[in-house]
Chain length 101, copies 3
């Protein structure tokens, strides 16, 4: 019933929301949660410089999918955008439905 | 001072908020945090189909209480509702106050 | 590319926001994310008693910085304020930029 999965958390500028959701879907993420957040990045930029609020996108996936998402995020956005992403190991109720078929 | 605990995160339709809080309280959760979120579930439903925003409910409990909450959530909601729940191991400052007496 | 770090999550009354951000910065946190949340604490106080919404402050740091932040939070706020804080081990994409130089 409980399945170990990886939660991918991505914080990006709101304007990248649809692109990032498309990216995680492409790798097999079957769902996601969006939270409006504000942030100040490691380069010291203030929230107000980001042209609005940021968004946190969370998805529960296998560790393989998580790694693929991280690689893709790094290749696509890390050079030019204020994207932060991290992984945490979680135990998910009925987690089997989150696994890529 | 720092105590290992389990964080239970539950995402549900907003209309289930009070019921879910009652459920976690029944098992001894002494506090919780609510965050408004939007989501798209594993069945591909869009946020707009959910009749409004969703809510993330988080609580810090012992692993035994976490398991009891997960079982109860599964029994009560998983058949008919878009409830997602996961556990993560955390270290809590003054975590002893979150343990069921 | 991926670096193990500690995510510090702090939930406090909104009025402490700037103080808490200053506290984490002092210890070398290079960024943070803010989320508006509501909560009921372990003393049973209701969100409405808190004089407004609460804030969740998250930052990614080394385990040493996390411990220093936790100690400082405990010393400064735990006696008189409804502050909750916990640590979780995460893997961060390009996490090296979050490490104190």
């Amino acid at each position: 019933m409980k399945v170990p999965l990886t939660k991918v958390s991505i914080i990006s500028e709101s304007l990248l929301k649809e692109e990032v959701i498309e990216l995680i879907r492409k790798h097999g993420a079957t769902g996601h949660t969006l939270t409006k957040v504000e942030g100040e990045g490691s380069e010291g930029r203030h929230a107000s410089d980001w042209g609005g609020r940021n968004v946190k996108i969370e998805t529960l996936v296998s560790s393989e999918v998580a790694d693929a998402i991280m690689k893709d995020l790094s290749d696509e956005y890390f050079e030019d955008y204020s994207v932060i992403a991290w992984l945490v190991e979680v135990t998910v109720l009925r987690g089997d439905k989150f696994l890529k078929k």
